[in-house]
């Protein structure tokens, strides 16, 4: 009994120590790890960028975790990460809580699309007010006259609409409700816009996957997901009527058109939903990196270098992953902003404990 006991303990100890000892592949060189957290929507793009950058600079690891836009904002405020990322810009209130200044740096463009699952219907048009009423629970059946009017050729069934939304707070939600707030005064008054809202009706799915899964499996349902997601999963999504009155389906061109028509302020915090322009897709959005204006010397240098690379080389990689690149005018603005990032010693919040 005792010897089995002893044998076992030594086995376990050996396993632990060998695991700890054997896994120091980084011991040979000093590696700098830069940690970031935030939006899920641009995660595929960011993971590609950070991987490519690591290939060019093997002593730099940029570790990005997509915990959601709100999470990114909060961690940046707490100072536990070196940068954040968000689909919904920080409000003045939130910025005031951070020690030091935060810069919003736009990276790519994306869009939310209305995905649906109605048998026999391959394409649908929606207007902003119709979408708002569906998500408010005022339009409850697929063959409602409001829907039929804008879809004369579709065979709409007499079935109740099952609404699906995000259960977790997210930038995807923010963009969607931001748009609904603009096109429906009732939505704006009753529900409002934030990363997490009090949905009047519907099922909650966790993550894009949760929403898409529910829509795919529930007949006569409707939900919203990011364009990239819908494309990758071959989901049916509809066209939305833009400010100019045209029904536009989301794609790289229409999303870029939405940004082209927008006025970009100096701090880049702008909403481009319901953008003007005949070709613009109305539920588009920028996504931003949240960078401290002041960073510790080594990290600041790396961050600046990465951002410059992102604007030059990184933008060329966006289309393969179905993201729209930044418009040219925005790119030149960003380059100037990057110069204002300092790598002096007194940093915002993210410099302790290194």
């Amino acid at each position: 009994m005792k010897s089995t006991y002893r044998r076992f303990i030594s086995l376990v100890a050996a396993a632990i120590f060998s695991a700890t000892g054997a896994t120091t592949p980084l011991a040979a060189q000093t590696v700098t790890t830069i940690n970031g957290a935030g939006a899920t929507f641009p995660y595929p793009m960011y993971s590609k960028w950070f991987d490519e950058y690591h290939k060019l600079h093997s002593d730099v690891q940029i570790n990005y975790q997509s915990i959601g836009s709100g999470g990114g904002i909060r961690q940046v405020t707490e100072g536990t990460v070196d940068f954040g990322a968000t689909d919904g810009p920080m409000t003045d209130e939130q910025l005031a809580k951070v020690k030091g200044k935060i810069l919003h740096i736009p990276t790519v463009l994306g869009a939310d699309v209305p995905v649906f699952n109605v048998e026999g219907v391959a394409d649908l048009n929606f207007t902003g007010p119709v979408l708002a009423d569906i998500f408010l629970g005022k339009i409850t059946k697929w063959n409602d006259p409001a829907i039929a009017k804008i879809n004369p050729k579709a065979k709409l069934p007499d079935a109740p609409i099952t609404v699906v939304h995000r259960a977790d707070g997210s930038g995807t939600t923010y963009v969607w409700v931001d748009y609904l707030s603009k096109v429906s005064p009732e939505w704006s008054a009753k529900v409002g816009k934030a990363t997490s809202v009090n949905w009047p009706v519907g099922l909650g799915g966790k993550g894009n996957e949760g929403v898409a899964g529910l829509v795919k499996q529930t007949p006569n349902s409707i939900g919203y997901v990011e364009l990239i997601y819908a494309k990758q999963n071959s989901m049916t999504f509809g066209a939305v009527q833009n400010k100019a009155g045209k029904f536009v389906k989301a794609d790289l061109a229409s999303v870029s058109a939405a940004a082209a028509g927008a006025k970009i302020p100096a701090d880049y915090r702008v909403s481009i939903t319901d953008a003007p322009g005949a070709k613009a897709y109305p539920v588009s959005s920028f996504t931003w990196l949240l960078i401290y204006e002041k960073n510790p010397p080594e990290k600041g240098k790396i961050i600046k270098d990465f951002l410059n690379w992102m604007v030059d080389k990184g933008q060329g990689m966006t289309q393969d992953l179905s993201y729209a690149p930044l418009p040219e005018n925005v790119k030149s603005m960003v380059k100037k902003t990057i110069k204002t990032i300092s790598s002096a010693n007194n940093a915002g919040g993210a410099n302790n404990g290194r």
Binding site: I67, R74, A167, G169, G204, G213
Partner: protein
């Protein structure tokens, strides 16, 4: 043993080399006792600290809403209005459903494994059931989404057709909902109940059982008359342990409960549990009141666990007083 009785004086001089049966304790024994007691206190300190941390982290909510937070049912992050009732309902209802399913199954399996199956098969089966306990909840969540939800969705129309007159079975066949959450929780707690109940049943003293059999009872009557009453407190302990597990289960439930903060009688409707709302919204809660309210729900869960454990302790204490355990 010495042949002649030892006087008190002689006892004292021999104290260094002999173990005394009196109240004196050696220094080494005392330090050892304190040493291990320290770790016991560590547990208490942990529980208390967590409780305090939760209380401090949620003070905004309590100061704004007071105790009415617990029975308010609005959850509106935009309007800054929060109420915990839908989540309390979801957690309690899904756990109750899970117990309803898992206790008969678990105790039944335990009886089979302890009393009827040959020892080898019993050991093998117990090993397999312990494996079920070891399945991580993330993996159960995956199974939930891809297997359980579609399966429940295909069964629900039948339930609605035949049992729809009961308020428990009205509604739309979503697939996700209270029923599915209860089922997945049942899968999670079933092995705990089974294994512990089996252990307890095996610990029933043989003479008791043999006496019963000698009197002409059947095996089942022995189980019913002797083993189960003897094992009652142990099984109750297993039930409460499982209830604790079910109340706090996060990932698997989040993926199948529907995540809708509404209270309804129907098992087919989606619901929301306390642990799920924390998991879903914690990473994204930006507003202070929102964050505080989520932590307040954590504190409520903590409070419910404390109460349930208190009741369990009381029950087990009473039973042991009666001498059945």
């Amino acid at each position: 043993m010495p042949a002649a009785p030892i006087t008190v004086a002689e006892k004292r001089t021999e104290s260094k080399n002999q173990r005394l049966t009196g109240p004196r304790e050696r220094a080494s024994d005392r330090s050892f006792r304190w040493f291990v007691e320290g770790f016991g206190w560590l547990i208490i300190a942990l529980a208390v600290t967590i409780g305090i941390a939760l209380a401090i982290g949620s003070r905004l909510t309590w100061s704004k809403f007071g105790a009415s937070f617990l029975w308010a049912s609005d959850w509106d992050p935009v309007a800054d209005k929060f109420g915990a009732l839908p989540f309390i309902y979801g957690t309690l209802a899904s756990s109750a459903l899970a117990l309803l399913i898992a206790i008969p199954l678990g105790v039944g399996s335990a009886i089979f494994l302890a009393e009827l199956a040959p020892r080898r098969i019993s050991d093998a089966c117990t090993f397999l059931i312990e494996l079920l306990a070891a399945v991580p909840s993330v993996i159960l969540g995956l199974m939930g989404i891809f297997l359980l939800v579609p399966a429940v969705r295909s069964v629900e129309p039948t339930l609605i057709k035949f049992l729809g007159f009961l308020p428990f079975f009205k509604g739309v066949p979503y697939g996700v909902g209270l029923l599915t959450a209860g089922l997945i929780l049942a899968i999670m707690i079933l092995p705990f109940i089974t294994v512990i109940a089996r252990e307890v049943l095996l610990a029933v003293p043989r003479p008791l059982k043999e006496a019963m059999l000698a009197l002409g009872a059947t095996r089942w009557e022995t189980v019913r008359g002797v083993s189960l009453p003897y094992a009652r407190s142990g099984i109750a302990g297993a039930v409460f342990l499982s209830l604790g597990r079910a109340l706090g289960e996060t990932m698997a439930v989040t993926m199948v409960i529907g995540n809708t903060p509404k209270i309804s009688w129907s098992l087919l409707d989606p619901a929301y549990s306390m642990a799920s709302v924390i998991a879903n919204e914690l990473t994204e809660a930006v507003g202070d009141l929102h964050l505080n309210s989520l932590i307040a729900i954590g504190l409520t869960l903590f409070g419910i666990t404390v109460i349930i454990n208190g009741v369990a302790r009381l029950m087990i204490y009473r039973v042991s007083q009666r001498g059945a355990a």
